[in-house]
Amino acid sequence: MNQALVSLALIAGAMTVYLIVHLVLFRAFLPVERWIVLKRMYAIALPLITIAARSSSACSARDSDFFRGSDWTYLLCALMFLWLLHNAYLMFYAFIDRSISIRTNVEAHLAGTPVTFEELRRRYDTVQSYHRRLEILREAGYLEKDGERYRITPRGASLARGVRWLKQLYRLGLGG
């Protein structure tokens, strides 16, 4: 078997372990700050996964293309590749969890019959979703509660400035 493919299979295996573990965690503990859990789990798991893949490679494919060269080269490549996989997974996850369009398709599916815009909006519950997003921003430290108001934190302000600059750069209008 092609050594590069063996390496690819090993990395895919490592990512599969990550997916299974986080799925078990989600189902067992229902974490509230799921995004943070995903990132922390990745940070903790990465060295372990790298070592496991390295050991597996030594056993199964001594001259594997991916694992050739000095240790730093190997480590750099492994970390980069797993980071890419993790990023792709985060995109999928954000898409499933946060996307308005996905939720709309789900609600239309659950409705079973054609629904008016008002019914669709009622099922979606835009008010609840609106408040939920504000609370997520508060929990993440971008906003803080000041009586009835949400006040932007320095961290939130720097993110907002970056977003505004990017929107201007790409000529995207206000968006959202």
């Binding site: 750099l76 398709n105 789900v106 239309a108 835009t126 949400y150 968006g175």
Partner: protein
């Protein structure tokens, strides 16, 4: 292997350079399509880039052609996915728009009602439903003078699949 990663990054940088002028020079409507086309145009550069990088600087990678081709395409595709995630986060995210609106408000603080007055989340929802109808994820029918929405076969596949994943991961309704 380092050659694969470096080649993917180099071609990804070329992709950034290729697609950015479209956005900088005029307002692009079909943004995802523009980025996908730029990505496809750049993909054939992966192979020469890999050989260039490998032969000039590394001279270390060996292995079957098929494996290298798969690796370099996978690495480039994931870089592109990461960029799409980054792009859509600032282009589409209502949450980031909330931050911008609050930052630009006097005193940097707003009540939910004041924020809603500046940037209506319901309008976002209305716009998204319209966009979904445009790309045929939702179809419409008019009955008794009222427009009704339902999933297209593609939209139903998405809705059903994502509902299953949401349930499996216990994510709640989300959105």
């Amino acid at each position: 292997m380092l050659g694969v990663m470096v080649a993917a990054i180099v071609v990804f940088l070329v992709f950034l350079v290729v697609h950015l002028p479209f956005f900088l020079l005029r307002e692009v409507k079909a943004r995802t399509r523009t980025m996908t086309m730029a990505m496809l145009v750049c993909t054939p550069l992966l192979w020469p880039a890999y050989h260039f990088v490998n032969e000039r600087w590394l001279a270390s990678d060996v292995g079957g052609t098929a494996g290298i081709v798969i690796f370099v395409i996978v690495a480039f595709t994931f870089l592109w996915f990461g960029y799409l995630q980054f792009y859509f986060s600032f282009e589409r995210s209502p949450s980031l728009r909330f931050l911008v609106e609050i930052m630009e408000s006097e005193g940097g603080a707003l009540t939910p009602a004041e924020l809603q007055a500046r940037f209506s989340f319901e309008d976002v929802f209305r716009r998204r439903v319209g966009q979904m109808a445009d790309v045929k994820l939702l179809l419409t029918e008019t009955r008794d003078g009222t427009v009704r929405y339902f999933n297209s076969p593609k939209g139903d596949l998405v809705g059903r699949g994502c509902w299953w994943v949401k349930k499996a991961m216990r994510l709640g309704s989300g959105g």
